[in-house]
């Protein structure tokens, strides 16, 4: 949570702020260096110098991080665009396959209906001409049975 808050706070600061902080730190550092030549302000310069140095360090460190963050943000946007295109393509592929499934299933069902109609047309004739021995049905059913067991 704390990290997230820090990231949110830092993420909204402009990149130019950090070199500005480092520049300001450098200016203050050199100013403090000059002021240390004056005996009246010398004691203050001793405190200002380390503070300015830390400000430089902070500015430079954050500038390094902000630069990389900017590059990463650009890469994220590029990747997001790629993913959006791929997801659309994936969805289109799913729709195409779904359409193909429906079309092919209809063709197979229609063909089955045609053959069942043909059987109906000759039903009386073939049933009169041929009686199947129960043994033949048993063999046929045995062959149609799944040797691996029932489907789950």
């Amino acid at each position: 949570m704390f990290n997230w808050l820090i990231e949110q706070a830092l993420g909204h600061l402009p990149v130019w702020l950090w070199p500005a902080v480092a520049g300001a730190g450098t200016a203050v550092y050199f100013l403090a260096h000059l002021l240390s030549n004056f005996p009246n302000v010398k004691p203050y310069a001793i405190f200002i110098k380390p503070a300015a140095f830390l400000t430089i360090i902070l500015g430079v460190f954050m500038y390094g991080g902000a630069g990389v963050t900017e590059i990463l943000q650009a890469q994220i946007k590029e990747q997001e665009a790629k993913i959006a295109v791929a997801q659309q393509a994936s969805s289109d592929a799913n729709t195409n396959i779904q359409t193909k499934i429906v079309t092919k299933t209809k063709v197979i069902h229609d063909t089955q209906v045609v053959y069942q109609e043909k059987i109906k047309e000759v039903e009386k004739k073939i049933d009169a001409d041929c009686k199947i021995d129960p043994e033949a049905i048993s063999i046929l059913n045995g062959a149609a049975k799944n040797p691996l067991g029932a489907t789950k």
Binding site: G65, A66, V68, A86, K131, I132, N141, K145, A150
Partner: protein, 91 residues
């Protein structure tokens, strides 16, 4: 002055390396619902019948069943290959 520059460079580089990007990836798509159902078992002829037409009806229904199941497997392969190609293009 030189020391300050060296320290600045080190600090700058450590600032660079402290940032890592989030890992982004595409989620694998959901399978079309028609491909999720298993193929049923083949139909059985009524053992009490002696009619050839009854047997033929079951046999033709079984042929249809086979083609439906074959189509399902073919569509699975088409779906998988298409999605794999799209998925790999994002990497």
């Amino acid at each position: 002055m030189k020391k300050l520059l060296v320290v600045s460079l080190i600090v700058f580089l450590s600032g660079c390396s402290s940032v890592t990007g989030p890992k982004m990836s595409m989620t694998w798509p959901d399978t079309p619902p028609d491909l999720k159902t298993a193929c049923p078992d083949l139909g059985q002829v009524d053992t009490n019948t002696t009619k050839l037409s009854d047997a033929l009806n079951v046999i033709t229904a079984n042929y249809s069943q086979y083609y439906l199941c074959k189509d399902k497997v073919d569509n699975w392969l088409d779906w998988y290959n298409a999605q794999q190609k799209i998925f790999n293009s994002v990497k």
